[in-house]
Amino acid sequence: MRVVVQADPIDATREYAVVRDRLGGQAGAIVTFSGLMREMGEDGALANMTLEHYPAMTRQELERIAREAQGRWELDEVVVVHRFGTLKPGDEIVVVVTAARHRREAFEAAWFLMDYLKTRAPFWKKETTATGRQRWVDARTTDASAAARWGKTGTRDRPTSANPAGSRRRRGD
C-alpha cells in the first residue's frame, strides 16, 4: 500500500511503472485512474485551482479508504496519490493504481477508491478563472450517490461477491 499527499506534480506514469515492475507477473490486471484538472470551470476558462486540505486528517483518511479497499477485494497493490496546493489545467489531481489477479477486482477497487475519496478525503477546490474571479467548487450530489452504492464502510466480513458490480444488471432486464 502506498498513500501519498503531495504538493509536487504527480507522475502517474511512474506510479504505474513502479507497481508493474514490482509485481513482475504476479498480477494480471492493473487499473490506473487519473483525475485531472479541466480547463473549463462553471464560470468559463480557468487559470488555476487551489486545493486546500486538512493536513492532520488527509493522509490517515486516505489510508482508511485504501485499507477498506484491501478488505473488500483481494489486491496485489493499492496506490493513492493526491495533490494539494495550486494546480494548472491538465495537471493530475489524484492518481489511483490497483493491481489484482483479474480485471474485475482491479476495476471495482479503483472505482470504489475514487467514489469514496470524492466524499471522504478532506480536500476543497477553489477555482480561479482566467479573468481572476475565485469560486469554491460545490460538492456534486452525484458523488454522494456514487459512494453510497458501495454500501457501508467497515464491512470486511462481507463476502467479496456481494459488492455492487457483482449483481449489476441492465435497466429493464
Partner: protein, 88 residues
C-alpha cells in the same frame, strides 16, 4: 490549550466566512456534542451564523475522523468544521 478547552479548525469557505482558521474554545458545561459546540459558536457573531446558516452544507470531524453532529466532544478534542469535501 487547557484541559477544559478544545481546538476548533475551519476549512474552505467556512474558514473564509468566519475569518479564522483555528481557535481554542473553552468547553462549557452545556456542550456535550459537536452540534452543541456549533450552537455555542453561532452566538459569537454574524460571521459564524453566516458560515453555519445551512446545516446541510456543514460537515464535521473530531480528532481527524468524520462524525455527525450528535457525536460527543470532550476536553482536548480537535474539532473541524468544513463544507462537503471536493477532492479527487
Amino acid at each position: 490549550m487547557t484541559e477544559s478547552s478544545i481546538q476548533v479548525l475551519y476549512f474552505s469557505w467556512i474558514r473564509e466566512t468566519i475569518g479564522s482558521d483555528e481557535e481554542i474554545v473553552a468547553l462549557a458545561p452545556t456542550v456535550h456534542t459537536v452540534g452543541d459546540l456549533l450552537a455555542k459558536l453561532c452566538r459569537r457573531g454574524a460571521n459564524y451564523q453566516r458560515a453555519f446558516s445551512d446545516p446541510g452544507r456543514v460537515r464535521a470531524a473530531v480528532n481527524q475522523t468524520h462524525v455527525t453532529l450528535d457525536h460527543p466532544v470532550s476536553a482536548g478534542d480537535e474539532v473541524a468544521f468544513f463544507p462537503p469535501v471536493t477532492g479527487g
